[in-house]
């Protein structure tokens, strides 16, 4: 089942963790374990030579505000995000996604950093974070000092389970700009039952409302491609257009073309396209009416 873990580390600071990562390279990172444990048991994830538990690293915890940006620590759990007052005030669409996430027990253990680095096309925080223009912060320690680079979340995913994180890097935080007044954002998750269901599809929508249309439109879909998808053609079809029946029909048709879902046990590709079309229509009608 596993190749044999040779070393277990539980660093107590970011500096310690990054130093070890730089030295060792081959490390399996552990946060809440809710993806890693079942994947390892099923043989879908192989342990590297070192297992590093991130829990003791205080720099990765909590939610804070820095100017006009919210900093969501990689170790923030889904439960913490669900109850965080800053998230509730500024990022209700992320809160909504956390509310539809698994079960209480899993929300209590699952972390934001784990959800992002697991890089499942169905990861539920990814779609709202994409439409909120979130960036990931990647920390490393190539020499004496800690180095932090930022990357738009939309560029972070390469394929299922694959990201642009380098082996010596940790995802330290997610940075989200506080939306401007007039900002509207929606999240919709379709699953066969309300709890404990991996998304069949999910939809995120955001924009700034200006007399009857949306500007700065962002649309993202989950579980319809190899990675969570920013839907640029769909965004363009909506950007600046009067939110009337004609626009909504055109946008939904564009979305149906733009997604590239697969058939799997949860749904057929055709059904997923229908869901995208119909649920985006409903979402846009709701935005137009409110």
């Amino acid at each position: 089942m596993n190749q044999g873990i040779e070393r277990y580390l539980a660093p107590q600071s970011l500096d310690q963790a990054l130093f070890a990562l730089q030295e060792l390279g081959e490390v399996t990172l552990l946060a809440g374990g809710t993806d890693l444990m079942p994947q390892a048991k099923a043989g879908r994830a192989k342990f590297k030579r070192t297992l590093m538990n991130l829990r003791g690293i205080p720099e990765l915890k909590g939610v804070s505000r820095e100017g006009n940006t919210l900093r969501l620590g990689a170790l923030a759990t889904i439960t913490e995000l669900l109850h965080d007052p800053l998230v509730g005030e500024h990022l209700p669409v992320l809160r909504e996604a956390c509310d539809h996430f698994a079960s209480d027990q899993i929300r209590n253990a699952a972390t934001l950093g784990g959800n992002i680095n697991n890089a499942s096309p169905a990861g539920d925080t990814l779609v709202p974070l994409l439409v909120l223009d979130a960036e990931v912060e990647l920390a490393s320690r190539p020499d004496e000092a800690i180095y932090r680079r930022r990357m738009p979340l939309s560029e972070f995913f390469v394929g299922p389970g694959k990201t642009r994180r380098a082996p010596a890097e940790l995802l330290s935080a997610v940075l989200v700009p506080c939306p401007a007044p007039g900002h509207v954002a929606r999240f919709y998750k379709f699953g066969a039952r309300p709890a404990l269901d991996i998304s069949t599809i999910s939809i995120g929508l955001a924009g700034v409302r200006k007399n009857g249309h949306l500007e700065n439109v962002r649309v993202a879909f989950g579980a319809v491609a190899a990675t969570p998808l920013r839907a640029l053609a769909t965004e363009e079809a909506l950007e600046g257009r009067q939110l009337d029946a004609q626009t909504i029909a055109r946008v939904a048709a564009t979305a149906r073309q733009e997604v590239q879902p697969i058939d799997d046990l949860r749904a057929s590709a055709w059904y997923r396209q229908e869901l995208v079309h119909n649920m985006l229509t409903r979402m846009l009608e709701h935005v137009a009416q409110n």
Binding site: A10, T34, M37, P38, K41, N53, A102, S103, N108, A109
Partner: protein, 158 residues
């Protein structure tokens, strides 16, 4: 050969040490290393809640948690509810309301029920049902379980 490591943690209020393989789950630690078998293995993958325990005041699925991750933390299992006021109220209510049939889900259900009640106080049926979404019961149909938790909760409030 898998690597073992020694951990120290608090289990049901008592400090203890254990030596565990680093890839072991907390469920296996509790059942096979410590010998506390009240916590049940249902699915082993986070779907059923039979393995629910409380760690640092929050409930989690012990089958998804690495045993090494118990280090330095406070872990409570179903055994900790015996003799506690809330645990006893839950036990009486589960029996009186007929919320137990085969009983396999019951330890996890009671751990989650205790968490739902103590974290949020007495609650309506909807909030209780929401709280136990992660716990499957194949026998009762949930109605009696929700009623039992509500009864135990009302006793809490009084």
């Amino acid at each position: 050969m898998s690597l073992k490591t020694e951990i120290e943690f608090t289990l049901n209020g008592v400090k203890r040490r254990a030596t565990v393989p680093v890839e072991m789950s907390t469920l296996d630690l509790l059942r096979d290393v410590v010998g506390l078998t009240g916590t049940k293995y249902g699915c082993g993958e986070g779907e059923c809640g039979a393995c629910t325990i409380e760690v640092d005041g929050l409930t989690v699925n012990s089958c998804l948690m690495f045993a090494v991750d118990c280090a330095g933390r406070s872990v409570n299992t179903i055994e900790s509810l015996a003799g506690e006021p809330l645990g006893e109220r839950l036990r009486a209510a589960f029996v009186e309301q007929g919320a137990v049939q085969c009983g396999f889900c019951t330890p996890g259900m009671m751990m989650q029920a205790a968490h739902v009640l103590s974290a949020c106080g007495a609650q309506d049926d909807k909030a209780i049902a929401r709280g136990i979404e992660g716990n499957l019961c194949r026998c009762t149909g949930y109605k009696k379980i929700v009623e039992a938790i509500a009864v135990a909760g009302k006793a809490t409030g009084a």
